[in-house]
Symmetry: D2
Subunit: 311 residues, 4 copies
Amino acid sequence: MSSNTGNRYVLGQNQYGKAENRVVKITRTGNDGSWHEIRDLNVSVALRGEYRDVHLTGDNANCLPTDTTKNTVFAFAKEHGIDSPEAFAIRLAKHFVHSQAPIHEAQIRVEEYAWDRIPVPTRRDQHSFVRSGQEVRTAQVTYGGNSGRLEVISGLKELTVLNSTNSEFHGFLKDKYTTLKEAHDRILATKVTGRWAHSVVASGDEDFDWDRSYKDVKRRLLEAFADTYSYSLQQTLNQMAERVLDGCPTVNEVRLNLPNKHHFLVDLDPFGLKNDNEVYYAADRMYGLIEGTVHRDGVSPVIATSDWVTG
Amino acid sequence: MSSNTGNRYVLGQNQYGKAENRVVKITRTGNDGSWHEIRDLNVSVALRGEYRDVHLTGDNANCLPTDTTKNTVFAFAKEHGIDSPEAFAIRLAKHFVHSQAPIHEAQIRVEEYAWDRIPVPTRRDQHSFVRSGQEVRTAQVTYGGNSGRLEVISGLKELTVLNSTNSEFHGFLKDKYTTLKEAHDRILATKVTGRWAHSVVASGDEDFDWDRSYKDVKRRLLEAFADTYSYSLQQTLNQMAERVLDGCPTVNEVRLNLPNKHHFLVDLDPFGLKNDNEVYYAADRMYGLIEGTVHRDGVSPVIATSDWVTG
Amino acid sequence: MSSNTGNRYVLGQNQYGKAENRVVKITRTGNDGSWHEIRDLNVSVALRGEYRDVHLTGDNANCLPTDTTKNTVFAFAKEHGIDSPEAFAIRLAKHFVHSQAPIHEAQIRVEEYAWDRIPVPTRRDQHSFVRSGQEVRTAQVTYGGNSGRLEVISGLKELTVLNSTNSEFHGFLKDKYTTLKEAHDRILATKVTGRWAHSVVASGDEDFDWDRSYKDVKRRLLEAFADTYSYSLQQTLNQMAERVLDGCPTVNEVRLNLPNKHHFLVDLDPFGLKNDNEVYYAADRMYGLIEGTVHRDGVSPVIATSDWVTG
Amino acid sequence: MSSNTGNRYVLGQNQYGKAENRVVKITRTGNDGSWHEIRDLNVSVALRGEYRDVHLTGDNANCLPTDTTKNTVFAFAKEHGIDSPEAFAIRLAKHFVHSQAPIHEAQIRVEEYAWDRIPVPTRRDQHSFVRSGQEVRTAQVTYGGNSGRLEVISGLKELTVLNSTNSEFHGFLKDKYTTLKEAHDRILATKVTGRWAHSVVASGDEDFDWDRSYKDVKRRLLEAFADTYSYSLQQTLNQMAERVLDGCPTVNEVRLNLPNKHHFLVDLDPFGLKNDNEVYYAADRMYGLIEGTVHRDGVSPVIATSDWVTG
């Protein structure tokens, strides 16, 4: 995807598209259409391909406007519906690559916001919703490239969890700048960002149930967090990832980003009070940040790490 | 609360204190203390009183440090526990006014973040939580002043709701700048900020169940939003407020701030598609903003409006 | 502005309008129009008046759509230009009240974002800008009501300032929860939110130079902050307000909201290092919050305080 | 950096450390130390190495606490001062890798917030500052790994720029979803995120003037943006990157992330007004997003792209 720019420099990786298209789709079911379903997505499009001229001379002959990619998102919501973030993104990615020769690869990213129904005792029709807010579901689909590959990465973010006991931290390495006291019973809290890559079996299966898969993974992440007696947040991270790989055969790789949301035990001694792991100060910054990938043997990781890593 | 500053100007309303004290309280119950409860609060303190000298000369003799107000929040969490945001705030406000002569009035503001339990099938102990995220609960308690009054205002914010039908908007006033088309079936969505003031009966009752009251009000707000066939967001606002006043005899006044989260029907005609109220674009800005107070007859409103209002 | 709702409750203060209309105005000057000026505003409209029916029955006959108020903002930018946030807001507020009988009062709020020119040595035309980002300028204009008053409040926010010395804090009140050490040389830093109300002389003067007035007030706030040897942030607040009142005869009242952005001296003793007021940890939360109004004698304050205040 | 986890799965890329350490350093110069300099940094540490055990069993013997990495940041600010974000990060990265065998690689990320002096006419001492706010400076240093490489990437973010003319967009590719009109005179505005990688000559030079280099690059980015008559934002991107490579021989690679901050010409025809490129609506979302790397021939790009890219 590189090309020489005016004999002087090289144009490296580049991409463009319309970001953050907020599309809400209402579907009416039931005999009289009075039972409504809602899907609420934020869709970003990135296209890669033969874009040397648009960079070097501003010749836009190969450049499908970002506005067109936006229109496509909304039109596809009508034409094809939104079965799941992943299925919707796969359809969009394939469309862009198949419909225009200069587009070699497309990456679609989606955030989905969940809505619960508002329970109204006296009503049988259903068109009232309240935002759930617990976490944001994510999906990233990349299609095309030299390899012609379809890569589906599902995920979630802003899932905040806390264990009020069963967490220790001691036996750590010490140097001249170490002042931390060992902890034998602490709060462990984190705001989970997780992503997981699917095997070609899942990605290529047009009937794969992405919503069910999502629920399974989320439940496993939560249960593993709750179940793990933790000696380090790294250990908890590994347990969470393994729990997903254990139960989800079509998931090949899990990457977790776990900020350690520190809850410091408040020193109440000056006031003649004993703080027996009861009162904590929840700090914002600084925070520990633990990140890691766990994958099946023989699989090449595809989920981006936070940055440049030497071999 | 005004005083002359050096014969030149007048010191008007002023207040100070420590803001945003994030206190998390874990309570252990059950035979072996393995059943944990959590309350997660953000507490802000504002003190008012004899503070002329600290402003005019920097004489701090009357000035209890903001750091002390912070310490008090954490110490009180241990000494008295956190029964509810309101009860905790009342205790703090009374403490400041009663303990130091220069403090004539104290205002405590609280945000509370809700946690759900993580269900773990095989476990009987309970110490694992996930942030609910649906809304933030608020409370504001003011105590003291010339009138010696105790004022309790409960509330919530960031409660996002949506009706996918049963909303119209037409018959409106038109001028030369009016281009809006009449709407006979639109999405109505808003992010509710609500506050409600309690009668002296509730505020003065040490056994008042603030948590139960909060649940009642929230349920009524949601149900009224869902039930109302709306001809304007103002009408929905009024219905929501009245539903609370109808069912909660100790609530005297309700104020709602309802941004109209516009969902625009996308024009799919250029693509040969008919959009029968199915595909919407969710806009960020601009947005309509509807605010209003509804209160019982004979009651003087106490909830601050957004700004200066002529008589 | 209250009215009985269906014989049951009272509709109190209410208002509505379109919020956050982002309008950018380019003006071309010079012989060939190649010298461009830019004004970049975020304008919010709130209307008050005869809105009982729209709340009670959804009858919109008195309700000018929020969409129309948006159109008016953009049309006025063309028809009248944007001389200053204040002048633009005054014109809008008067228009709404004068053009429709049900509108008794209008409040316009504006944020303005400043742009600097990008210096390009070889160019004489000027159409390139970079956002300044130092602070956001604000204005709030209220017109109408029973009193027919025009009230202009100018302001700024997000102006972050820091003195690295000449600040002390000691001699304060102590109670059983006080652990704070006295400080004889500390960093004093705050993020200024300031508002100032103008006299009727200024508000009613169609030729008043609002931009010049804004620059004067901002300069005085900065200089007073820098000049004051501080024994408390309250003292600094008062000095800043007085400096404005001293030099700006048409400003009647100043209100400042000063969060104490704590910079804690880091304890480096464990590492054998002496920290002689050199290395600080900049904390986010908790923070002291100091708020106050200073006004001329004989003037009734009009700038809203943060909340309900007993007499 | 991979290792087998309990014979079942593979631990892939992982890292940990303390993020967002906010350190402010005051330096006193002049005869009496009354001339103060300030540097205000947000420093994040990530360590990579032999961390299999901490993930698999919670054995922390190889795990230097994140708290220690925080202490090191503050202690180094005292011991070595902060000459520049890059120099400070290089020193920290080398320290971690050289001081503990399990640490094979360290990555330090820095944000720097600029302060201007508050001009006070009557004063010769200088200790008063106001946050500049125009952009945030960034640096990322990675040291170690199998290759023993030192990689320095400088950058900036939140630099918002606008050209009010000299931008067109036409001649683009069209498909059935294309409705965009061609534009022959439009506003071009973007919020620049830029990163640039330095050659080993610069990275390895202990006397390299990072602050001067930063100023040069920023000036070139601004000038190129202002100077370019643009037929597409991609063309502007390329011009900006080339201008940096042209003038900064120690910069090998530039990557820019340019959201197209759309300014839509408002249709004022319904109000009988002609909008001759004067009044614009500044939109938030959706936005075009243009990203690209330009590098010298023969250089392997090291700046992370936004995500997974097929070969």
